[in-house]
Each structure stands twice: as C-alpha cells, then as structure tokens.
Amino acid sequence: MPDTRNNDAEILLDDVGMVYTASDGRNVQALTSVSMNIQKGEFISLLGPSGCGKTTLLRIIADLIKPTSGRVLIGGETPGQARLKRKYGMVFQSAVLYDWRTVIKNIELPLEIIGVTKEERCKRAAKMLDLVGLSEFERHYPRQLSGGMQQRVGIARALTLQPEILLMDEPFSALDEFTREKLHIDLLKIWRKTNKTIIFVTHNISESVFLSDRVCVLSPHPGRLSAVIDIDLPRPRTMELKDTAEFTALVSKVRNSFEGV
C-alpha cells in the first residue's frame, strides 16, 4: 500500500475521492480513497483503462476540479495556490495550439500572460523551441506542422514558464507508433535536462513502463489505485531497452496488477 508518512513530498495525495452527480441524479464514484506521494523530479505514470479516473486524478492535481473528499498538497500548498504561482505546465491529448499564432508566438503566449517584456519573451521562447528541436519552424503556423511536431510545440509551451510540475494527459495517444517512440526519447531527454516532476496519464502499458520511475495502476468501477509498481530500469533509457527480458517482465507485472478489467 502507498504510504502517506513522508510529508515533505512534492505532491501529496491523502485519501482523495471524487463523486459526480450524473444527469439522472445518481451519484457516480469516479475515484475512491487515493493516497500517495510523489517526490521532486520523479516521473510518474497514471495508467489504466477508460473510466478508471486517471484523468480525473490529474485534473484534481491541476486544480481543474476539486475533490469531494481528501486533500491534495503541492509543496505544502493547495493546488489552487500552486496554480496561481504558475507551478504547473499542462500538455493535453491534442496540442491545443492557437491556429492564428505562429509557432514562436504560441510558445510566447504564457509569457504574455504573466507580463514578460517582448525582448525577454522572444529569447525564452527561442530557447524552448531549441529544447524541442524545432528552431527552424518558428515562423510556421501550427497547421503547417505534423501531429508530432505540434505536440512538441505543446510541450515547449508547457515548459516556458519553467513550472515545477509537468502534467501530461495522454499526450501521445493520437500519434502513430513511430512518432510516439521518437517523442518518448525526446521527452526523457527534456526531463533529464530540466529535472521537472512529471505526471503522465496513459492507457499504454509499455509506454508507462518505458518512461516512468513508478507506474500507478488505476482500476475502474469504482476508480481506485490498485497498485504502484517501481520501474528500476537503468537510465538513460534507449529504444533497445524494450527488447530486454527485464522490460518484458515489468510489462507483464503491470498487466497482471489490474483488477476487475
């Protein structure tokens, strides 16, 4: 069972639950009693089938929704306070780029919002664009880019404000396998360079094992945390890792930890 003893964790979830009222008036238990803590700089996956509450959990951490029970602490603060301090960078299922802005202007958007000068904006956005390897496309419009490139712009934008926590909601699920594998390697490189805490929602077992330090397995009906599995594979991880017996064994272990699917 996950422990809640360590109170200086970066993210602390204590008995978090979420109940929705459906349109027919019945209560739906989306999430029951999730407790865990996440250390600074950790790469955590929330893994599970649809309806297991993994996205709900991510949204609770992001302060997009309030849990109906339990508490969440981000570095000792509420999610609301953490959001106001711009501690979060969000990456969504689609890139959610602004069609009318060029790539560089998209990355500048969060800087505009916190009121950074134009000169500084350009400099910082260019640096982020370099980090995701798209410097030559800064004057392009989003629709001129492929899906994978768009999602890299989305990641660059999420990192612009140098948030402490990167929240990723199935960011690669719409991409083809080849692009996805390449982005896995890129994401791990970016993670190593920037040392962010990453919470990564996915329904892809192999993806979660390859990327994470720990995989949190969630099961549906009602949504609950059914296992937390340490992935003690060496880093830096390369594509060859996927062919090793250790990797395959961990994938099976994760798969077998699901309940009632």
Partner: protein
C-alpha cells in the same frame, strides 16, 4: 464559373432578342445588355443636369453611406451583445430567445413603420441596416465564443490568466472567422435594407431613383442600371468581407499540411 457567366449572358441576349421583336417597348421587359451598358456611359442628361452615371453615383452615395453607417453600428452592437452574453449568464438567458425570435420577424416588412417613427429617411435607413446587421453578427459571434475548445480554457486557467486576458488572447481571436460569417451574411442585407427604405419616400437614394424610373418619370434604362448596379454592389460587399477576412486571418491561407516530425 466563367462558363456559367457566359451562358447566363447568352441566355439573356436570346430572350432580349425575342422581346425586342415582340414588344413595343422592349426596355420595359428585357433590354439588350449592350443597351444597359450604353445607358450607363451615355452623355445624355436625364434630369436636365446629370447623366445616368452621375445620377447613380450621387444617389448610391446617399444610400450606401447610410447602409455603411448602419452596418458599422450593427456590428458594434452585435459584438457587444455577444460579449455581454458570454460574460453574464443572466444576460445570455434573457437575450438568447429574443435573438432567435428577431430572425423570424420580417424586419424589412417593418421598414415603413420605422420610417414613420424616426420621421427621417436617412435615420431609418441607418436603423434598419443596423438591425439587420446586428443579429447575424451577434448570433455568429456567440457561436464562435461557444466553439472555443474546453482545453483552451483549461490552458488559460492553468496559467491563472485574468478574464481580460482570456478574452483578448483566446476568445476574441478565436471567434474572428465566426464574426466574418455574420459580416458576410449581413453586408448585402444592409444594402438591400437601405435601398428598400429609399423606395418608401421621395428624396435622394437608389431606391427613389428606382421607383421614379418604374413610374416612368425618367427613362426605363435607369431602372436597369440600378438593378445591375445594386446586384453588383450586393455581391461585391460579400466578397469584400471575404477579402478582409483573408487579410486578417493569414494563418488560414498558410498552406501545406506538414513535414513529418
């Protein structure tokens, strides 16, 4: 398309030839196009002092400037109402059914009474053009505000953006194409309205000229000149809006769907 234009012209000329042979006053029914073009550019003074061309330009100025003022007022009102409706739930609930209702009311049919209330033909032209512009702009802008994907709102929320920033950075730029849908619908309508109001009363204006010519106060060719002129202006106003839209939304024209990333 060119083919169709040629076909239409040929059909017109065939019918015009038939009419010329069977009618005593062919220009009352269907004159040859050459005759219409001749009448526009002929030096003959129609009302003693002006040629047809000068007369049409002068009257068109009166009609179109009023249509233009009404159009601009209608755009401003429609946009502000859409903004208020999106900002306030109460205003949206009050205004929404009336916005639907006003589309079903034949405003053009009310032209005479609006003329009677305002007592001034110039003012009533502006008022009716404004009403006819106002609701397509308001409904389309509202539709644009509602079409903003939830993820964009969540992104803004995660940056703790202010309400003002949410509107200036996301909502308003997003709804521009929707706004232009409204502008394209209402531009010919504003012109139609202005001409129709002209016909209700004497004075200056394309509509007055049209009814005078119909009543036989001047040559019938003036009538045909105005018919073709107003058709041309109506279509032109539609395309003018498309051109402005394309200039404003450069990202839409940026072609090419992508390099693989």
């Amino acid at each position: 398309m060119l083919l169709w234009i040629i076909l239409l012209i040929v059909l017109w000329e065939i019918f015009a030839s038939v009419v010329t042979q069977t009618k005593r006053t062919p220009e009352n029914v269907m004159p040859h196009l050459s005759g219409v073009i001749d009448s526009i550019f002929s030096d003959k003074r129609i009302n003693g002092s002006q040629t047809a061309f000068e007369m049409i330009i002068e009257n068109a100025g009166a009609t179109l400037s009023r249509a233009g003022i009404g159009y601009l007022i209608g755009i401003a009102l429609g946009f502000v109402l859409a903004l208020l409706m999106s900002l306030s739930g109460v205003i949206e609930k009050i205004a929404f059914p009336y916005l639907m209702l006003i589309q079903l009311i034949p405003i053009l049919g009310m032209a005479p009474i609006i003329n009677a209330i305002t007592g001034d033909i110039a003012v009533s032209r502006i008022v009716i053009a404004a009403i006819l512009t106002f609701y397509p702009v308001a409904t389309n802008t509202i539709a644009g505000f509602k079409a903003v994907e939830p993820a964009k709102h969540e992104l803004m929320y995660s940056y703790a953006a202010s309400k003002f920033q949410i509107y200036t950075k996301t909502m308003i730029p997003f709804c521009i194409p929707y706004l232009f849908t409204g502008l394209k619908i209402s531009a010919p309508m504003a012109i139609t309205a202005s001409i129709l109001v002209d016909t209700l009363q004497g004075g200056i204006g394309l509509g007055c000229l049209l009814s005078q010519s119909l009543k036989g106060a001047m040559t019938r060719y003036v009538f045909w000149d105005i018919v073709f002129f107003s058709a041309f202006i109506g279509i032109l106003s539609f395309y003018l809006m498309s051109v402005i839209e394309n200039l404003l939304c450069r990202y839409k024209r940026a072609g090419g769907s992508g390099k693989k990333g």
